[in-house]
Symmetry: C2
Subunit: 396 residues, 2 copies
C-alpha cells in the first residue's frame, strides 16, 4: 500500500521550512534561542499540556482564532515563561515587535515555545539582542534542536519518507526535547513536527491527537506534568502527495519513537521498560495500572537495582484501584514467568533468568490481570542516583 523509509538527519528533509538556532547567552556555551519559519503561511495543529497553569507561550497561542495560519515559531530554553501572568504573554508580543523591526520580517500570527525554569519573566533585551544572529534561510535541524534542549543528554530528531502506491512521496520530520518532568498524562516536552504532505487541516488535528495518545501520553519519567508541554504539527504542503492511512501510520511511528527517546533520556535513567497491562476490566483500568507501575518509586528503584522483586509489581497493581485477583494475576518479565497462582514463589533458576533480563537496557514487564479484555502499555524508566543529583538543584 505504501512504503515508509527512515531518513538521515531531521527537519532539513522537509521542504518549505527554514530553521536555526543561536547562542543568546543564557546557556554557557550552547544554543538557547531558535526559530522555525516558512515562506508561506501554513496550518498548525497543536496539543498542549493538561497542567492548569499553562505557560505564557501556550496562552499566547490560544489567543489566536481557531485554524489560524502562521509563518514563524520562536524557540527558547532556560526560561519557561510560566507563572508569569499576563505580563508573560505581553512579553511575547514585545519580542515579536522587536523581531519584526530587527529583521524586517513579515510575521503572520507568530508563535513562541519556551522551556526552562518556571517563574521568571523573559529577559526581553537579552533575547532580542540576538535576533540579528538569525540566518533566516538556514536549514540547520541540529542547531534548532540544540536551542530547545535542557537536561537532554542527546538530540532527538527523526525523519521519514512515505511513498504511496501511485509513486508520489511526502516527508515528515520532527525535533523534540524532554528528559525530566515527563509525565504519563502528557510528557513535559516540546515537539515540532514538519511535513510537506498535502494534508487537510482537519486530518492534521485528528491524526495529531491520536498520535499523542499512543505515544507521549504513554511515557513517564517522573510523573510530573509540566506547564509547557507542546506538540505541534505544521505542513508546508510542498508535496502533492497525501494518504490518510499512510500519514497516520508514519505519524504514529514517529511520535512513538520520539516518546521512547524521551524515556531513554529520562534524567539519569539506565533502562527503558514497557509496562504492559493485559486482561484489564476496561481501558481506563488498564491505563491506570500501567501508569501506576511506570510511576511507582519502589518499582523504579527495583528496576535500577535489577532486583526481580515481582512483589512490588503486584503491590502496585493492587494499590492502583483496579479490578484484580491474586489467583488470576500473571506476571512475566519478557518471557520469564515470575508469578501466577501456581508459581507464587520465585525459585533460584527463574530468579536468575529474571535478573538477566533486568540487566538489559530494554525489556517488558507484562501483567495479565485476567479479568477482562483491555490492554495498555506504558513506558517508564528506572530511578537512580543520577535522577536525584540532576533534580536536587535543577537551577544551578
Amino acid at each position: 500500500m505504501f512504503k515508509i523509509t527512515a531518513l538521515q538527519n531531521g527537519l532539513e528533509n522537509v521542504d518549505g521550512f527554514y530553521f536555526g538556532g543561536v547562542k543568546s547567552g543564557f546557556k554557557k556555551d550552547a544554543n538557547d534561542l531558535g526559530f522555525i519559519r516558512s515562506d508561506e503561511v501554513v496550518d498548525v495543529s497543536a496539543n498542549f499540556t493538561s497542567n492548569k497553569f499553562r505557560a505564557a507561550p501556550i496562552r499566547h497561542f490560544l489567543k489566536y482564532p481557531k485554524n489560524f495560519k502562521t509563518n514563524f515559531i520562536l524557540l527558547n530554553s532556560k526560561n519557561a515563561n510560566a507563572m508569569t501572568g499576563e505580563a508573560g504573554v505581553n512579553d511575547i508580543d514585545t519580542l515579536f515587535t522587536r523581531l519584526k523591526e530587527t529583521l524586517n520580517l513579515n510575521l503572520v500570527n507568530p508563535i513562541m515555545s519556551s522551556t526552562g525554569v518556571i517563574g521568571y519573566r523573559l529577559n526581553i533585551d537579552k533575547i532580542s539582542a540576538s535576533f540579528d544572529k538569525f540566518e533566516l534561510n538556514s536549514r540547520d535541524s541540529n542547531a534548532t534542536v540544540s536551542a530547545i534542549m535542557t537536561t537532554d543528554s542527546f538530540k532527538k530528531e527523526l525523519a521519514y519518507e512515505v511513498e504511496l502506491k501511485d509513486g508520489s512521496k511526502f516527508k515528515i520530520a520532527a525535533i523534540c526535547k524532554g528528559a525530566g518532568m515527563i509525565n504519563p498524562a502528557f510528557a513535559t516536552m516540546l515537539c515540532f513536527i514538519l511535513t510537506d504532505a498535502n494534508i487537510p487541516k482537519e486530518d492534521m488535528d485528528e491524526l495529531l491527537d491520536g498520535a499523542v495518545k499512543q505515544s507521549f501520553n504513554c511515557v513517564s519519567v517522573d510523573g510530573d506534568t509540566s506547564t509547557n508541554d507542546t506538540v505541534m504539527l505544521l505542513s508546508s504542503r510542498k508535496s502533492n502527495s497525501y494518504n490518510k492511512n499512510a500519514f497516520k501510520e508514519v505519524l504514529n511511528l514517529l511520535t512513538k519513537e520520539l516518546s521512547l527517546m524521551l524515556v531513554k533520556d529520562g534524567e539519569g535513567s539506565t533502562k527503558v521498560v514497557e509496562f504492559e497491562v493485559k486482561g484489564a476490566k476496561n481501558l481506563e483500568e488498564a491505563q491506570r495500572a500501567a501508569k501506576a507501575l511506570s510511576n511507582s518509586l519502589l518499582v523504579k528503584t527495583a528496576i535500577f537495582g535489577e532486583d526481580p522483586n515481582w512483589g512490588r509489581i503486584a503491590s502496585t497493581i493492587g494499590a492502583s484501584n483496579v479490578e484484580c485477583d491474586e489467583d488470576k494475576l500473571v506476571i512475566f518479565y519478557d518471557d520469564v514467568l515470575l508469578y501466577d497462582k501456581n508459581h507464587k514463589e520465585l525459585d533460584k533458576a527463574r530468579e536468575a533468568d529474571a535478573h538477566a533480563i533486568m540487566q538489559k537496557p530494554n525489556y517488558k514487564i507484562s501483567c495479565d490481570l485476567g479479568v477482562g479484555e483491555a490492554n495498555f502499555s506504558a513506558y517508564g524508566c528506572d530511578l537512580g542516583h543520577a535522577y536525584v543529583s540532576i533534580n536536587a538543584d535543577y537551577r544551578s
Copy 2:
C-alpha cells in the same frame, strides 16, 4: 476538661496486656517475632490497607465474625505473607495450632500481623521453633517493637495518660513500624494501640477511623501503598475511666505523632515537610493537591537539594487537576512569601530567606489556592540518594 500527659516508654504503661519479642533467625541479630496478648479477651478495632491484594494476615483477620474478641496477636517481620493465596491464610492457622501446643495457651480468635518481603510463604517450622522462647508474662515494649521493624531506623512508641475532670485516669500507648512504601491513601505500616480506657466498641471503631484519616492517611514517603497496612486498637478496660472527647483527642494526638515519626523515618529522608493546601474548592481537591505535592518527585528532590524552586510547587498543583488560578495562588515557605500575583519573581533576599527555611528539618509549604474554603495538610519528606540505595535492592 481533661489533662493529657506524655509518658515515658510505650506499651508497658497500659495494664492488662503482655508483650514481647524474640529472635527466630530471620534477621541477622535482632528480634523478628513477637506477640501482644491479654489475660482476658478484648475488643479490637482495625483499619487495613486499601491495596486490593490484601496480605494473608489481613484476610485471616477478616474471616472472623464482626466484633469478635481476641486475646493474642502474633507479629513477625522479614516476610509479609502477601500474594501467598489461601495457603498463606492456612499457614497462619497452622502456626496458631503449633503455638497452642507449644505453650499450652488458650487462644481466642488469634490474630497475626506481618511485614516484609511480598511473595514468599512463611517458614512455619522456623517460626514455630521459636515459640518456646516467648515469655508470656513479659511486658517489654522495646522488644516487641523491634520484632516488627524492617527498614526503620528508630523505634516508634508513644504513651499518654489522660486525667478526666472527675479525677479518673486512663492510658493509651502504641508501637508502630514503617519507613518505606508509605503512601497517602494509608501508610505501609503496622500500628498497635493499646488502652485501658473503658471505651465502648462502637467508639473504638468510630474514633480509630477518624484518627487514621487525620494521621496515617496524611503522610507519604513514596506514594506506594503496601499489602499489609494495619492499625489496631485494643482495650483491656482495666481502668473505669473514659470520656469520648478526651479519648478522641488523645487518639488523634497519638496517631498524628506516630504518622509524623513515619515520615521522619522515611527511607533516607532528611526533612519532614507539611504541605498545606488552603482555599481549595472542596476537601477532595485540597487533599488531591496536597498529596500531589507530597508525592511529586520534582518537589521531593528540590526539598532534598534545599532549592526554593516554587515553580515546581505551582506546576504540581496545576497538574493535580484542581480548580486554581495563577492570579489567586499564594505560596509561602513558613512565613516567607514565595509567590503571589504581585511577587512572581523571587528576589535575592526572599530566595535567601527561603533557602534558610529549607535547611531546617521541619517546615511548612503553604499554598492558598484562593478559590474556596477547604484546607488539607499532607506530610511528606525529601527524596535523596539514601532512598535509592535502600530501595534498589530491598531484599539484600
